[in-house]
Subunit: 382 residues, 4 copies
């Protein structure tokens, strides 16, 4: 059954890439975006490095140079390619990398068939699959950035990513004061950053059932929201001025009409769809403009059973910090989450490009406040 | 009585500057440090702008250009001098600025004598005095930076700033699980960021009675703490490598012996004194190396009656975020705190250069994680 | 006959690219290097813009967006893609661009067959072919940079680019004082920057018959040439320190032996081959170390009939400035050369990757002093 | 008599500084400007280092740390203070430096009285005095920058620096084709960069008797000269756009009228005065707009007896390169000129703030093309 899951997840990664041209696999327009071929190679490298090499006797690496090329930020493993250099590497080619994946898959299948009961192995493979699902989401967002910043505005494909009509009826739910249990609980997989279920005291609060829509955000834009410093954090305001930000990412004002680039190409702005591609700074300023605020991650989790979510990753007012009793793992896997716990904000929920079954109410995503290329949105609190 | 306090605080600012040469008032070696003459002018400008102009009928500004020069970050008030430019301004001269202070003081005294019962006025003056006390601390730290980065290593003066023997006996205090009240309570002055007393649930924890000493930190240095990425946040590690950090600020290894620059000049490192001038990154890495951690700001406040503090500003594991129910003030004073609530870490306590009576258990200081020029230290938790 | 020349030049461009993988066409590791697919598109765009659109009635552009993508620095024509962005564009694909070339070629052939006697047209086509030959050379140097900075060090192909044994017998030729004629003379094509034949007075001088070899330059490296500021221009010395330059580009010290990356892959350093891939700063410092100097471009041209050249572009001691009576052309083609006449140094000669028949004694190439990715070498004077 | 000259030159330096406030001596608003106190110390350091230490037996340095502080770019002498750091140093104080000058002067006077016939000594002292005169000019231009970029626009003093009416009658002089002798000839002092008198062949040309006036340049500004790329070098155009240049340095458009900051304060633009404070890029673009050009430095020198000059340093079309037979001196003094001979343009003439008797027809000044804080002007040729 783990083998089935393995096959399914690995196949999805390649399916996501199937509409791409070879050239689309190669480029890296900004440092936060990785070339799709790097994602393909890196997720194979993860299984090779953490599963095959330590657990499959006699395993021979596909290419010893690949550790240098496909390592991401695991300083324990070896010298990594400087992140900004990923887009400069034409080799290994896309074909080479698909060969690499095939080679790793064959050995993984052999291992999973023969060591199906090794607990430690299963744990590592499950981690590797969750890791690959994270990269599936990044593949979508990175591909969108690559195509959406090309002057020809090519579409990724024709399938519907539209979220029109998918939003909830607007309204506020009241949550009473009290002690709430926060953090992962249960049987399945979870990351170390969401473990350590613990009590948090919350004051009474209200949280919105619906996500903010493009229409609502457009009012902020039209009310000179980007020109009025009083709604912004100081560094958010400097970010706005320095980058001349005037609207969410992928919004274009063409022939007197607002458009947005989508994976289906450039389209008129869908007013009822949930807003996305805004930074934490913008989320905060919008809430301030309305006289409201963002929920904390604890408020979000405590109320998460009471509204539908999963369309947008939702910015919270919480910085990404360790839970009480947080303990990072030994070795290279200990670098997975803990080293990022400074200067990032927590997002909760999931988005339309999150892999099926990948998220949960206790899941903690996190990004720097200025980043917008994920499907980030806003749920209000007060 | 407020007049007495006014006279006392204003006089202390000038006393702090009295050992300086005229040239020392002018320079700005890094963007975070302001020239002492700017602090002198800015604290006068604060009273002129927020007290005298709105409350003293017929008040005539000392010089209308000063608003442009001495504004800091109050975007509501007018175009500010770009912060990096402060060290480029030779005029107004130091004498001009002392004249400005004298002019403002004369009008303030007149106002305080004649409007001694105006509640709103009193509130503003008290805020101005607390604001000036914050700048008194910055004056010490900025002067230390200016003199401590001069190749001649001039002393500020000969008075003792030594903290030898001042540290507590080392030990851990246990604090039980429970709900604690956090935030300012009482009659006196407090800032908006510490208001909104509220309940926080804390797990049981231990917190150290003593601050980390130079001796203890030197062991970390000698155990290659600055060469081992596994103790560091990713961005802390990049900060170490990019800036080639090898020890706390002001530590110099000369003739096989560690020295530190102090306000009394360059001295051999005082092993028993509490460590200071480290970044949050270093504080975190040191705690990780010891298998411990920093306390959260809530843990610190809940335990703060059980140990002596006030020698070092203490880094906490908490990001600087609004308390539940935080409401920023209307108008320019609303910019005082709220706009900084992103990407900074909270410090608690006070330091040897904090003005008398300025801090309290609920006081929240905050700096970016990479900053070291304040008297920052470490208290451990577990 | 111009049609034959057209076909020949255009075919050579594609032949140069034939060993590439699709991915190699896309990347731009540094701002000075352009992706091969951009060179392919830009040279087609040149003919479309300056020949087909003004001279072929009824011509329909292949794609109106291509002007935006393939323009280089012709500000008169339209908004150009910021040069650093070229490596971010995955579309148009390599196939698209070959289609574009085919489309342009078909129309060019039609035009050349039907308007074979139009003087203005012929002039423009000849300029376009010389322009394309310049890009052929850049294709080689850019491909070398792309492959030579890949951690897998792939070879471009197996053909011999070796220059072993090709150097002349070392020796100095004396040239007497006198007035020399400098600049292009004759019937064929020349660029505007070499026109305006004029008299220059030269003192007597000596110039070397041979180019500096790798062996000779290695002595400079081993004599701490890169550690001794006295041989360097101030800004050359800052360049050395800032970039930690220790040897020519593509030199690697591996297993106690010097290697160089070549288009055939990584090879032991060929000691007798002419040195290449050095900056002007290095050329100057090497000459200074030997107590010699580089020739001026006038000395070079006056003596150019007396030695064999064509293996390396040779740095001269001359800044790139207009000849007396220099007149830039009207319109967009006037931007071809004149706008670069500041802060660049002149190179004379040609290199092993210069297209056949492209250079001549009066040809003036030019680069910024810090650039090394061309086949730059040294001829000494005194 | 050399002693008299010494006293006169040294006194002039201090006279130039006499209108300054202490604070004005300290700041460094841009990297190209040095704090006046640094000029004062550096010119004393020059005599201490190159004259007193090697030639006055038993001489004891005033302060051994001063070599570190006042060295400029003489890498042979010791570690220099990074140039950008000069404005960060509050110590030594202005008083300290005047004491330093007094100490050096006393020893210099003793030496000059006792070793009046030592040829080598005389040569060094004369060099030191010419060096100090160069810094006198820099003092004026740096002081102007410091005060002219202060929002209070303080005047340096009330003496007249006006050049109204000082310009020549406009007209062109024709110079015939022929061989001209270029470079210093005669008995007095000259720098190594102007030595090596040599023959240059010049085509016939015309050169203007008058300098370009503010009125003439204003026409270029009003004819959108700063918006039309076709007159500009590519890197000049990028400089204009990046720095949003719209007029010469110190020009301000206030209340619908053009003003200029002068050493007497802010004044309406003097239309008939010679233009100054423009970059080479602007000089070139202006000439191009008029269909003319700048003279080469050889054309300038060959014609220099035929017009009055000395009001503005005049940009030429010549890059700063060694004359034939240029030989830099041995030791630290060899760094004086030669190391700057790349990427700078030659200026000829002198300006209203050049010290009396300091310039001559063969004098070669040089600056990077983007610099404007000198009294740079334009003489046209064709």
């Amino acid at each position: 059954m783990l083998l089935d899951k393995y096959n399914e997840v690995r196949a999805l990664t390649e399916k996501i890439c199937s509409p791409l041209k070879t050239e689309d696999y190669v480029v890296q327009p900004i440092v936060d975006v990785s070339p799709p071929k790097w994602h393909l190679g890196h997720t194979a490298w993860f299984f090779e490095t953490f599963v095959l090499k330590p657990h499959l006797q006699g395993y021979v690496e596909f290419d010893i140079n690949y550790n240098f090329v496909f390592n991401s930020y695991y300083e324990t493993i070896g010298n990594r390619v400087i992140r900004t250099d990923r887009g400069n590497l034409s080799r290994p080619t896309v074909d080479d990398i698909y060969q690499y994946r095939k080679y790793v898959d064959e050995h993984m299948r052999f291992l999973l068939q023969n060591e199906a009961n090794d607990e430690k192995l299963i744990e590592l493979v499950v981690l590797g699959l969750n890791h690959e699902q994270q990269h599936q989401e990044l593949l979508y967002t990175d591909i969108k950035y690559i195509l959406g910043h090309n002057p020809l505005f090519p579409a990724y494909d024709d399938t519907q990513f539209s979220t029109t009509g998918s939003n909830e009826v607007s309204g506020m739910i009241g949550i009473p004061e009290g002690i709430y249990q926060i953090g992962f609980e249960g049987e399945g997989f979870s990351f170390d950053n969401e473990s350590g279920r613990h009590k948090v005291f919350l004051n009474s609060y209200k949280i919105s059932t619906a996500l903010v829509t493009n229409r609502e955000y457009l009012e902020f834009v039209q009310d000179s929201g980007y020109q009025n410093f009083k709604h912004w954090h100081l560094e958010g305001w400097e970010w706005v001025k320095h980058n001349q930000i005037k609207a969410p990412l992928y919004w274009y004002f063409i022939n007197d009409e607002w458009h947005q680039y989508t994976l289906n190409g450039l389209k008129p702005l869908d007013m009822e769809a949930p807003l996305c591609h805004i930074s934490y700074y913008e989320a905060h300023a919008f809430a301030d403009w309305l006289g409201k605020r963002l929920p904390t991650e604890f408020e979000w989790e405590a109320a998460s059973g009471k509204f539908n979510w999963g369309k947008r990753w939702e910015w919270t007012e919480s910085a990404y910090l360790p839970y009480p009793g947080y303990k990072k793992e030994e070795g290279a896997l200990g670098e997975y989450n803990g080293k990022f716990m400074v200067n990032q904000m927590v997002l909760r929920g999931a988005s339309e490009v999150t892999s099926p079954g990948h998220s949960r109410a206790s899941y903690r995503n996190f990004f720097h406040p200025y980043l917008r290329w994920q499907y980030t949105g806003i749920r209000l609190a007060e």
